[in-house]
């Protein structure tokens, strides 16, 4: 599988602060959902901003879909990446839902007729078409994030980066947004990078990258990472609910013979276990 994002040996620090990344390398595979997990201040968001060229790299190289991120390519790189940020309020540029979705298209000088078609389609995709005349003050946090996603879908990028996009939402809104992104990813064959400290969000991923203090600690499939409850906790992260349940079962002498299972598999195992008794 092709590596759509190649981060080669980068070093970076914010001015006046110690080195955040010291010769860091990471590859993101095309068409996969990659979750970057780690504590606050571990450098996850900085990494996302470096990939999008919002912060200037000091040494090393980042290649996005065969384009090196530099001054000449910056706008081409950004046209391949759609970013959803943390605060729903602060990324709502337009005065109404429709205008916000059109903002990115306006920047790319899309002709007006095309724009109307794309805006309608994108808003219908995220289920916000009926809200097109609303102003942001009359929308919930989850609805604003939907609009932000519609604004990105309108630009048909190859990569979507969710920079803690669900951290200010309630559990219901979070689940809605994650399902929506999963659906859009599947429909358009996108690459998704989600930056989060929510373990349950990372459970959606194909690949999980654990970042701690600017270093990549581990890069593996979720089931291989989530079983290591103690290690996750030592990094300031919590284990997913099912892993915690398995750990609690083990303490009571019930051993499922596995470190991690997702909800369905664990339910199936428990049912089997109970029926055997």
């Amino acid at each position: 599988m092709k590596d759509i994002i190649q981060i080669k040996d980068i070093s970076f620090n914010y001015s006046g602060q110690p080195l955040l990344f010291d010769h860091l390398s990471l590859n993101i595979h095309e068409g996969e959902w990659t979750a970057l997990i780690g504590q606050n201040g571990s450098g996850k968001s900085t990494l996302a901003r470096l990939i999008d060229g919002l912060i200037v790299l000091k040494s090393g190289q980042i290649v996005v879909d065969d384009l090196t991120v530099n001054d000449q390519n910056i706008f081409d790189v950004r046209s391949k990446i759609g970013m959803v940020f943390q605060n729903p309020e602060d990324q709502f540029v337009g005065a109404t839902v429709e205008d916000d979705v059109a903002f990115g298209l306006e920047n790319r000088r899309v002709p007006r007729d095309r724009m109307h078609e794309i805006v309608e389609k994108s808003l219908k995709d995220v289920g916000m078409w009926e809200f097109r005349d609303r102003i942001p003050a009359n929308l919930s946090g989850g609805q604003k994030q939907r609009v932000a996603i519609a604004g990105i879908v309108a630009l048909s990028p190859k990569i979507i980066i969710l920079d803690e996009a669900t951290s200010m939402l309630d559990p219901r809104g979070r689940q809605d947004i994650l399902n929506l992104v999963a659906r859009i990813k599947a429909a358009n064959n996108l690459t998704v990078i989600s930056i989060t400290h929510d373990i349950d969000e990372a459970a959606h991923a194909d690949q999980v990258v654990v970042v701690n203090k600017g270093e990549i600690i581990e890069e593996n499939k979720p089931e291989n990472i989530f079983g290591e409850t103690a290690k996750l906790q030592s990094l300031g992260l919590s284990a997913p609910f099912t892993a915690q349940l398995i750990a609690a079962l083990k303490q009571h002498g019930i051993d499922p013979n596995s470190q991690y299972m997702n909800d369905e598999r664990l339910i199936a195992w428990i049912k089997k276990f109970v029926s055997q008794k």
Binding site: R49, L54, R78, G82, A95, F103, G104, R109, P136, A137
Partner: protein, 265 residues
């Protein structure tokens, strides 16, 4: 906030709602200028009839106009009283020291009153029938000729629309900070003037830093969505000049001509 009518938009689909914002803006300017040319009963009569039709065509209930006048009522009464008590000339009915009431002063007072009323009415119609966003777009269209002298019209319009979009956000934030500081024991509503000004600091400083945070995040989000500069963009919303605009202009221009004819020189 319910009494605050300025800048409030009432959704609707009337003749005036459908007009393009740039022509509504220009017509309001034009109308205010014409008002200052009027100086007799016929001229004011013509303008009043015109505004009556405007109100009917806007489909907005008269209650909203009364609300628009309410905050200015003291200013109106004060000006009208000054006009009545201090103008000289004409047949004097009553006088006491420097004060006098004559038929001319009464008429002048009446004119001032109508003038206020007309200006408030036309601006209320403008803001009630036009969304803030449309007003921002209208300003952009109206100012377009200034591009020739390198005035950054597009940047101004973008600033205006972002400012308008953030008004409710910052209002909410102010409310939150107000309550948060109250819950910590800050008393905003009482005490001496000096005390009250000091009490505003714990409100203003967080509001200010909050605004800077918004600005920083918003600019990052705008950049990430391909924003380079405000000039080289296409436009999603366009307000075209329509038949209704032309007809309204013809009516307004005719009334303007009538006013110029009937005014006494």
């Amino acid at each position: 906030m319910s009494n605050f009518i300025f800048g409030r938009y009432l959704p609707g689909n009337s003749w005036i709602h459908q007009m393009s914002p740039q022509s509504k803006l220009l017509l309001s300017f034009y109308f205010v200028i014409v008002i200052f040319f009027a100086n007799n009963i016929w001229a004011y009569g013509a303008l009043s009839v015109l505004i009556l039709f405007v109100v009917i065509f806007s489909g907005v209930s008269i209650g909203y106009f009364l609300k628009g006048i309410r905050p200015l009522i003291w200013l109106i009464i004060f000006t009208v009283l000054l006009q009545i008590l201090f103008s000289s000339g004409g047949h004097v009915f009553w006088h006491f020291g420097p004060f006098s009431i004559s038929d001319t002063s009464l008429i002048n007072g009446g004119y001032i009153f109508i003038r206020f009323l007309l200006i408030i009415m036309i601006s209320t119609v403008l803001t009630l029938t036009t969304t803030p966003l449309a007003i921002a777009d209208g300003v952009q269209t109206v100012l377009k000729p200034l591009k020739k002298i390198r005035f950054p019209v597009d940047t101004l319009a973008l600033m205006l629309s972002i400012a308008l979009r953030f008004v409710p956000t910052l209002m909410d934030e102010m409310e939150t900070i107000l309550n948060a500081q109250r819950s910590r024991g800050v008393d905003f509503g009482s005490g001496s003037l000096k005390h009250r000004i000091q009490a505003a600091v714990p409100l203003l400083v967080p509001l200010f830093t909050g605004a800077i945070n918004h600005a920083e995040n918003l600019s990052t989000a705008m950049e990430a969505r391909g924003f380079t500069d405000s000039e080289h963009r296409s436009k999603y919303r366009v307000y075209k000049w329509k038949g209704k605009d032309t007809i309204s202009w013809i009516v307004f221009l005719l009334v303007g001509v009538v006013v110029l004819f009937v005014r006494k020189n």
